[in-house]
């Protein structure tokens, strides 16, 4: 059985070591820097874990949106950037806009998947990703 640590595990081990062993020994600017390092490593870890599914879903949506369902199958990588640029050009030139069926849904799904990797604690993300059943309470003014 293959037991080699994967990329996400290597990053997780690094984060644990910085947080548990290095950070307690640091203070001031060095401690601040160590926290930033944890932040970027955590983003990389989430990307390793989540990007493949996010890219596949984006590719499927883009093909449907751009009526290119018959585009050749294959690895997502060479196709996805080109389709993204195609959509950007179409929006820039006014051929696709918010009245286009599926555009708003695609953009929301895309952006939520990206922020889930980049910054899952970002308040706008926490709000928008939360199920409707658990509304965020109104801000109370002391």
């Amino acid at each position: 059985m293959e037991t080699k640590p994967g990329s996400a595990e290597l990053i997780e081990a690094a984060i644990e070591s910085i947080r548990g062993e290095l950070l307690p020994a640091l203070s001031g600017r060095a401690a601040f820097q160590a926290r930033v390092v944890i932040t970027v490593l955590d983003t990389a870890r989430r990307e390793v874990l989540q990007a493949p599914a996010a890219d596949a879903a984006e590719l499927a949506r883009l093909r449907a949106l751009l009526a290119m369902a018959h585009a050749p199958d294959g690895a997502a990588d060479p196709v996805l950037p080109a389709l993204r640029h195609t959509l950007c050009d179409a929006i820039r030139e006014g051929r696709v806009d918010l009245a286009t069926p599926g555009l708003a849904d695609h953009l929301w799904a895309d952006v939520l998947a990206r922020v889930a990797i980049d910054q899952p604690a970002y308040p706008s993300f926490v709000r928008e990703a939360a199920p409707a059943a658990s509304p965020v309470p109104e801000r109370t003014r002391d």
Binding site: L87, I91, D97, L98, L107, R114, R139
Partner: protein, 332 residues
């Protein structure tokens, strides 16, 4: 550095006996900020030295024509003129000269208070300040915007069209593919407001993080390096960008409260407010912050600034896409 600081301190108070060891505060992208005290027979004078980053590490390469920041000597002059116009700012005590051997910058009084957004927005010590601050900000902005342009040193004159062109050009330079940015650009072009008849002095970076509060409210508006002349609603719209609400998502005005509270105070102090144009500048500001995040990542990539923070900020571009969608294509 301490010997040089003491020589400088003696220009402020000839009887200065010593200075404390300067403490580096977390500064902005282009400037260093140092806190130090001058000890003199008359007492201790708390000061701030603000100077250009010694290693030249900024977001912009030296000489970049898109660098909108003003020279520190100009910033000191801006501080003096807006203070005279009634805007709360730290008093400038000295402008650095080459003979000081401390680089380019200036020394101002250290106003006691807090700037860290999370403390200001969540700490119970600032409960009274939070109730007062939008009123204070409305007054401060109205005073700034009422100042005659001729009372300030010559500043870059800008407009919505010019800012849109600038930030669209910078976005294009990244050759990125972010459909939400393209959607925002279409909206920004379609809704471009008329240039106001009277361009006014602007802070240029008026937001939570650049405001110093004490327990009672706003004490000083800091970081004037992006001061310029243009549409007064630009300062109000930038203040509303969601990235400066630090968790207080529904408190549109800087995380402190509703926009109407700010507009009411601004109008009561003589300002002419236009909520639609504030919204325009909020959308443009959100896009601008997204491109700035990419610019910071690029500063790392080109080797101009290899601090790991730059890469972390680069990943914040997607937060602005989310906030643009919330503004332009809300789901509920």
């Amino acid at each position: 550095m301490e010997t040089r600081l003491l020589a400088l301190a003696r220009r402020i108070d000839p009887a200065a006996r010593s200075t404390s060891r300067p403490e580096r505060l977390s500064g902005g992208a282009n400037n260093e900020t140092w806190a130090f005290d001058v000890v003199a027979p008359s007492g201790t004078l708390p000061l701030i030295l603000r100077r250009k980053a010694g290693d030249g590490s900024g977001i912009r390469a030296p000489g970049d024509p898109d660098d909108a920041s003003i020279a520190p000597e100009t910033e000191a002059e801006v501080l003096r003129s807006v203070a005279a116009a009634g805007v709360p700012v730290p008093a400038v005590r000295a402008v650095l000269e080459p003979a000081d051997g401390l680089g380019r910058g200036f020394v101002m009084e250290r106003v006691p208070g807090e700037t860290r957004p999370k403390r200001l927005l969540h700490d119970s010590a600032f409960a009274d300040a939070r109730r007062a601050v939008l009123h204070d900000c409305g007054r401060a902005l109205a005073a700034l915007h009422a100042a005659p342009v001729s009372a300030l040193p010559p500043l870059r004159v800008t407009s919505a069209a010019a800012e849109l062109a600038l930030w669209e050009r910078r976005w294009r330079a990244h050759r990125g593919a972010r459909p939400v940015f393209e959607l925002a650009l279409r909206w920004l072009h379609a809704h471009l407001p008329a240039t106001p008849a009277r361009p006014v002095p602007l802070h240029g970076d008026f937001r939570t993080g650049n405001l110093l509060l004490d327990a009672r409210g706003l004490r000083a508006v800091l970081d004037w390096e992006l001061a310029c002349v243009g549409d007064p609603m630009a300062d109000l719209g930038w203040f509303c960008v969601a990235s400066w609400r630090f968790g207080e998502l529904d408190a549109v005005a800087g995380g402190f409260g509703p926009l109407d509270d700010l507009l009411d105070a601004y109008r009561a102090a003589g300002g002419v407010a236009d909520a639609e144009r504030v919204r325009y500048w909020e959308v443009l500001g959100t896009f601008r912050w997204g491109v700035m995040c990419l610019d910071m990542a690029e500063a790392w990539r080109t080797g101009r600034d290899r601090s790991v923070e730059r890469t972390a900020v680069g990943r914040r571009a997607s937060e602005t896409e989310l906030d643009l969608l919330r503004l332009l294509a809300p789901r509920r």
